[in-house]
Symmetry: D2
Subunit: 255 residues, 4 copies
């Protein structure tokens, strides 16, 4: 059974809004408004335990999931939501061994999810012209042990993509239509291109460009995640929700 | 570059409704209402080519994705939709190396998606009391080369689960609350349990049972996939859609 | 208590898909695949009775609602859905006494709903350049006793609207932005304009034109009607649904 | 053209979040964080004008719609949303002359919308056992000139409804199933009953009771209102929204 180590990431969980992602080595004492948690004392214990703060408030010690990690990435850039990256991974058939292209890297959140999915045998090539973003993404990927599966390039993919015969491509840019041509060159025949577009206008233009470049089986969809409050005799959808993240566009390259 | 072999699966694609998943070795000539396609002649060619039928109708030759394969599994049982299995894979953090429990196997569609995600290093343990379903699933998994990553058991998981320290568990049964206790025993501390429930009443009862059994961070949600018709100057959501598949329930085991 | 007359409209109802809107005077015998119903014999009876066909199948005799009537209007043109017209009526504050402009008339379905809402003291002015549509709408409105509350004009509203000081305006055209200027002239200060646009592009352009013409408090929304199958212990959203009808755009005229 | 009077309600509008519903006679000076508005000076002017505050900030003077009024009713109780009341009015065929039952009155928001729709010839009978709610509703209805179309009864409808041959009935209670029997007695044959239920469980139980009491053509649905940000070249659904208000249940009484 996996024990907590000093350098393990642990998710200290109270409820959906109060949770902390820490490492005992970095945060021996976690100060919260619910009291102080002695993280150092967790080393050698199992995940899944309940512990008390100095104020005698109970917290749960969980092993962070991919979602817990990815949602903590810097939010200076657009976030990728689990629903969206899950759909992309399934529709592109991304799995261990896949070689995947990404533009742009942003905070590295989607990069991390892709890296996690292609490991240990595959690889992610992620381009971004923004040096600051790439530095942040590099740090995040290293911190969570995912950097060996990723090559980050501070480079404008519009000017060309170095790789060839890639299994899938993810475009998360404001003007993804500008990248279709160079990215197509880098993709294996029949491979899937996925685009993430917040606006209808972007989706429309990306699909049009995909058609112009001979892509087939194009599809545009939107995933709406609706939270449900499941309580005995009082079950109902939550009153508020994230109503829109982005449209997902898919298309397959012809040879 | 990967070439089509006699035993390769190929997706013969015309549009979203007219597509065929075949192997040249099994279907040397594919008879469609658009004419006959000489599949045998495709051997040695690349994926991503356009070919003509005897009636001179153009078809696209694609390499099938996980979705193309899974959606072709026998539909005697409830289908798993890409949006749902993608979300489950992300939220449970399933990736190469994960050891995952599933009940019930059904057509094996979700089993295949899980196997695909845990390969090459992980494993799926899938229980179903229905012998006929398991035989069908076995055939499907073998046919698509995924059976080495799966152990199928014709067994009632309510009576106990043989495995221990599993990384995730997926319950796709009519009465998933009956399985929470035995499945909990089989899960590693902090691991995620996911349930798929078509009705609100099932979701409500499963969540209640999870709470009773000490699971934390429970969450119930529904993913609504909305297709968009992205056409220049005429972009709009599709008029009809699959409005509901199932509620997804998540919860994490405490030690 | 209201009795069925020979010229009453009656809704013969079996289930959501099998229902007939008839008049005993026009259809003394209603032939259905469930047998023949003697409608003439219903005269003098109450609504809300159960009757048998010649094949001994039970049918319900209901008094048609506005929805039953409007949904039976000719469907050569775009249908207005109850959810959409209900929202428009509330947001525009249409009620007895309101004077309302409409372009275009189409089948007259929305016209009928507006007429029903403004009666007995208000009036609807409905323009359409298509003579055939207007003839059909006229027939429908007369048939259901609503024509006295409507003035139909076979006229292009782009060239000017004759009325002044109207309380609300409904634009149900392919190019509603072309009408904003002339319709604005016809509206009372502070009155609400409502547009019905199937595509995002139309909605975008209409809103832009409203802003250009000084309209304020603009709002664009979409109503999604989700049917629920409410059954003891098995409640869930319906599997299929009408996923999109139109965007609704609102804006208020400034003086 | 209608002029602003001292006792007119005016909507002082800046944007969707900053708006005030006032009367010059009651609020000669409106103090806002954008400065002071001299409402008294508006008397005799038209609606639809732009005015400046003492801080030289521009505000719009609009004639309030039904929605503007209803959304300002006290919010101690559940609010009725325009989408929901609009659908109810259409599906029940409520219009001038309709005689409508309502339980419970709550803040009187739905009562006001119903009164507005049945005026001048119809009437609303609204029951509530809560004296405080009824007093508040009475005040609101009087304030907005709608009280002559409404009879409020501080009474438990479960114990019986005094009226007969009503055209429609609206149940907005926590336990609407308890009222089906007495309300049925008060309805005309073939009339529509509408229920508003926040939870799935309530909807399920109400539909079951309607069936038990012989109601036909039952329907359960949910209206989801999705706001769209329509901006040139950047059109997209709003990021956040009210995800759920209530399920709407309909059924028609048989004789």
């Amino acid at each position: 059974m996996e024990k907590i180590r000093a350098d393990s990431f642990i998710l200290v969980y109270r409820d959906r809004r109060r949770k902390w992602l820490v490492r005992p080595s970095e945060t021996p004492k976690l100060h919260t408004h619910l009291g102080i948690l002695d993280c150092a004392s967790l080393v050698g214990k199992d995940f899944g335990v309940r512990v008390n703060t100095t104020m005698n408030d109970e917290l749960m010690i969980l092993k962070p999931t991919l979602e817990d990690i990815v949602m903590k990435f810097s939010r200076k850039t657009q976030v990728i939501y689990p629903k969206d990256i899950g759909m992309i991974i399934i529709k592109c058939g991304i799995h261990s061994g896949s070689r995947v292209f990404e533009a742009g890297t942003g905070s590295g959140a989607a990069t991390a999810a892709l890296a996690y999915s292609v490991a240990p045998e595959g690889h992610v090539y992620s381009y971004d012209i923004n040096e600051e973003f790439q530095a942040g993404a590099k740090k995040n990927l290293e911190r969570f042990g995912l950097s060996e599966h990723v090559t980050l390039k501070t480079k404008d993919a519009k000017l060309g993509v170095d790789e060839r015969e890639l299994d899938a491509a993810l475009l998360d840019m404001g003007d993804p239509w500008e990248l279709v041509k160079p990215v197509k060159e880098a993709m294996a025949p029949s491979a899937m291109l996925a685009g993430i577009c917040p606006t209808m206008n972007q989706a429309e233009r990306l699909v049009q460009t995909l058609h112009d470049e001979g892509f087939v089986a194009t599809e545009t969809l939107e995933l709406i995640a609706r939270n449900i409050e499941a309580r005995p005799g009082m079950t109902r959808p939550s009153m508020f929700m994230v109503a829109h993240t982005a449209y997902l566009i898919f298309g397959r390259k012809m040879g």
